[in-house]
Symmetry: none
Subunit: 193 residues, 4 copies
Amino acid sequence: MNRRSSAESRKKILNAALITFSDHGYRGASMRMIAERAGISVGGLYLYFKGKEELCLTMLKDRFNDLVAELEKVALKIQDPADAFTQFITVSVEYTKRHRELILAQGREQGFTFGIDVKKRFFKNQRRLVEMIIRKGIDSGHFDDCNVREAAKIVTSMIRGFVLSIVVDPENLFQPDECARFMLRGLLRRKEQ
Amino acid sequence: MNRRSSAESRKKILNAALITFSDHGYRGASMRMIAERAGISVGGLYLYFKGKEELCLTMLKDRFNDLVAELEKVALKIQDPADAFTQFITVSVEYTKRHRELILAQGREQGFTFGIDVKKRFFKNQRRLVEMIIRKGIDSGHFDDCNVREAAKIVTSMIRGFVLSIVVDPENLFQPDECARFMLRGLLRRKEQ
Amino acid sequence: MNRRSSAESRKKILNAALITFSDHGYRGASMRMIAERAGISVGGLYLYFKGKEELCLTMLKDRFNDLVAELEKVALKIQDPADAFTQFITVSVEYTKRHRELILAQGREQGFTFGIDVKKRFFKNQRRLVEMIIRKGIDSGHFDDCNVREAAKIVTSMIRGFVLSIVVDPENLFQPDECARFMLRGLLRRKEQ
Amino acid sequence: MNRRSSAESRKKILNAALITFSDHGYRGASMRMIAERAGISVGGLYLYFKGKEELCLTMLKDRFNDLVAELEKVALKIQDPADAFTQFITVSVEYTKRHRELILAQGREQGFTFGIDVKKRFFKNQRRLVEMIIRKGIDSGHFDDCNVREAAKIVTSMIRGFVLSIVVDPENLFQPDECARFMLRGLLRRKEQ
DNA sequence: AATGAATGAGATTTCATTCAT
DNA sequence: GATGAATGAAATCTCATTCAT
């Protein structure tokens, strides 16, 4: 019986969960796998979390709150809209590279309702912040007037596609700054500049 | 015993698989569910497919071949690069809306190896076609010179993000033509046009 | 793989369930025990019943319907109220001696709601029939006027106590005719006093 | 660390056990629940009792001794046999209404051997006291001669049925005095007939 | 070719009990 | 004496796969 403090064990479990869920998805990850990685017995997991779902959601919530906080900083603190835009993509991309477990936000496990509140809140925040940046750009005259709502959807889709690719198709990972450049300037030739 | 031709049964099974996998994901879909929907016995499935994995992959392969064929038509037949670009996104988006089972391509079931070849081939083709369109645009002077490889990654990520959103966050579905417009023109204000 | 017909298996399972539940109570009986006794695999049970609860309730319902049918015959067909009363107790007692699983009706498993509808219906019927017999006796002048409702509760309690004793304290099993004799001497109208 | 005397802790535990077992049954009650209610650690329980079974049986034994003492008083001190009889039923019924944990005496947990000695002793005492009351009634000329053994079984069954109904079918609870009245009319000697 | 009863391995979860501190 | 983290066995249930018919 390898004794540890409660807090230590909780952290070990969350960490093991994070890796295991990332690698195998929600259903693919078994409590046994998580327990083994955490160096604890299977029953022990249930001392800290009511069940698989709670374990997964706790981990996700932590991550989301973290990321949203970082993104909020970018959207609020950076004055230049183009810079803010670039940073938003960069931070999103770098964060999810460090925390691959965020792909779980994409899962369709347990019917469609799994963690739906947690996810919905994150998605809404993500969109809201992109819209804020773009609107600021339009107001300040840096950006063309445009359909802000649509633009935000496109940007968040792109980021979501990046997250997926990390796990599923790593050859497809773009450079965040290149990505921002494209979005800002477009593909069409500019006649003179 | 409702006699059908072998080919007919195979088709029925593939169709049932398609719907069931779409609705429940790979692990959530059970062979019994597929059998019931196909109007065949559980054992019968194994006369046509070696197992669940083969069944799923066969279905995916069919779908991918189909979609790639359509996309190839767009990339090859449409002369104007901007039109081709717009059509590429539109077709990708519309096709996956009709065939939600393509989200399976995103799954991480069975470790990372599940259907890896099938997916990789599709991803490569997808990227190849986008690159082809963009390169044509640059060559013909319609598009600015740019990092073609990166641009293609960004576009495919965006499409992949769309596919995911269908299931996970339907509020996030963008309009394909708006999307194309943004990619083509960018966000930054154009001084004169 | 010991092949049997579906109906045969179902019967075997119900029979095994009956004995196992009787001997160990609802919680004490495990699906493994039932499966072993039925000569089937644990998973096999779930082909025939959705779960432990359904298995148990199906078995109980069958039994209750059976017994109520027999008791109804007694209450309706026997003219003499004293005879009907005696027979009611005798049949109840003999039936539960043959079908000890009826003690399950007494369990408090799964909180208090387990099989509550099934049980409540039986209890109500049991009371209703006793009341009917007593009321007939009063109307025909064989029985003293009395609080019919209370009398019925007392009789059903007595029977319930008998059922329990079968399993818990077999030395306490009374003779049904003696029991009826005792109860009747209190119910029969006294010619002169 | 809330220091208490050993005896105090023991009492707290027994009290917690009593309530928890009453509410959830033997298997439904967990050691953790009992510990929490007692305001003691899980491990602490094992300092006072060897295990769940011993804890439960100790509690039952206490209860039984208590009740038997009360019933003994009734049987020995009350002169009039009809009064004694009525009081016996009343006390039994009221006591079990206050101490629902006595239904545990009815359980079939752990096969048939659980607490068998404790229960048997109680059952025997219960029967012995009823027999004593009836025999006194016969000897004093208040009661008809009858099969005392059978009569006692019937009475204890009735009480046992009442105990069960408390938990399982509360609509079935009879009034103890009505019950006694019914039983007595059958036992009391008839002056002339 | 086709069926569907049956299996067996593995999933999540619960819990009495132990034991290092 | 006392704690509560940890264990391990067992429970219910699911399901891809097999195979006698």
